[in-house]
């Protein structure tokens, strides 16, 4: 499986993209979506919520599993993808675009820089052997 370049990745199988203007978009990777299977429910953080890196910021559920979503970097929630309330299947269909979860404003750039790039994440997935 290929992972898009220009994004950063976490060990929790989330991606984060620097949109410029101090805004970062967060979602889960295609690998994570595939492991979950059909996504049926996404719980998103409240806009304005202040996040510390690694803090639980929501949850994603599929028919067969449920897992938490974590903040990849510190910052505060500037926007959430409300379309996922109605169409959680977007997470499977378009994990890097229409299936985004939330946006972080005033994100911690130093934390962002330390996250994995696509090659490191691909190796991480491979090492996990799943």
């Amino acid at each position: 499986m290929d992972f898009p370049e220009g994004l950063k990745y976490t060990h929790e199988h989330e991606w984060i993209r620097d949109e410029g203007g101090d805004i970062y978009t967060v979602g889960i990777t295609e690998h994570a979506a595939e492991q979950l299977g059909d996504v049926t429910y996404v719980e998103l953080p409240e806009p304005g919520m202040v996040l510390d890196q690694g803090q639980a910021a929501g949850a994603v559920e599929s028919v067969k599993a449920a897992s938490d979503i974590y903040a990849p970097i510190s910052g505060h929630v500037s926007e959430v993808n409300q379309e996922l309330d109605r169409r959680p299947e977007l997470v499977n269909a378009s994990p890097y675009n229409d299936g985004w979860f939330f946006k972080i404003a005033e994100g911690n750039l130093r934390e962002y820089d330390k996250l994995m790039d696509c090659k490191e994440y691909a190796r991480f997935v491979e090492d996990q052997g799943v």
Binding site: D38, T40, Y41, E61, V63, K64, P88
Partner: protein, 355 residues
Amino acid sequence: MRQTPLLDEHKALGGKVIDFSGWALPVQFAGILQEHTHTRSSASIFDCSHMGEFRIKGREAIEAYDALITTDTGRIRPGRARYGALLTGDGGYIDDLITMRLGGDELFVVTNAGSLDRVAAVFASQVPGLVDESAETAKIDIQGPLSREILVSIGLTAAAALSYFGLTQAEWSGYPVLLSRTGYTGELGYELYLPNAAAVPLWRRLLDHPAVAPAGLGARDTLRLEMGYLLSGQDIDGSRTPLEARQDAFIDWNKPFTGREALEKQRDAGGYSVLTPIWTDSRSAPRHGFDVYRGDETVGVVTSGTYGPSVERGIGLAYLSPELAEPGVTLTAGPRRIAIEVTEIPFYGAGTCRN
């Protein structure tokens, strides 16, 4: 892992194969939601060849079997099936099972894969002449409102005459097929027992029908849970009795069975936890292993939980104290304390199984 005769078929169809009770079986093909919906609206086929099958012949053997299980086999007429259980002396489940009467002095018993070794050991030591046919028997389930016409279209015309929980011995392409109008989905459907050699040709013949799609264990689980059917080894096991599982309707008290005394004691004492249907008012679902809370107090545990695709909300089964097992009681469950409400089964009321 043990393999069914259909494993290569599943792989060729893109099935995602997992370990289920030591068996390599497909959890999904096109996706659980799609397979679930297809079963409710059309017809799906499931490979259930991992299940156990036993043949019991003769009056003496039938009496010995009858003395073990909760079902009164005398109430099962030829060509009919009944659901029941095999218990330990303490009243806990070894397994739930279906007993079919093929003829006046012949029974066919279907059990689950998870506790097959244990069930087989009990039967072998207690039922004279019992034959374990599990290894040489394949099982294909066809479930969905179009099942009847599909079976008729491939020459299994006997399906048309079967009523719910009826069965008959038929023939397909020279192979003997035991056909029962039973299932685990709530839809009109049939379970087909056949020799291993017939599994691939029959599976392929069924898939040739444009209305048929393969379905895996994932959809099987969401379909059964929407009906409130139990999963052996998960909702019921050695630590739970049929009274706790609220299966009183399948205990025939007019005869002896293993565990009867323990159940009588429990029935008379009362106060035991009972398996209770719960649901959410969102798409968020309770999950297997979630604790159930009233305020901060733990009052039960979820044994099965999923998103119910046809009811479009989270559904589950939980063991709860009897005073909480009343429809309308509201509680919370799991680490995120999702709101749940006690309800009634079936969660999904529009199944076609009795049509």
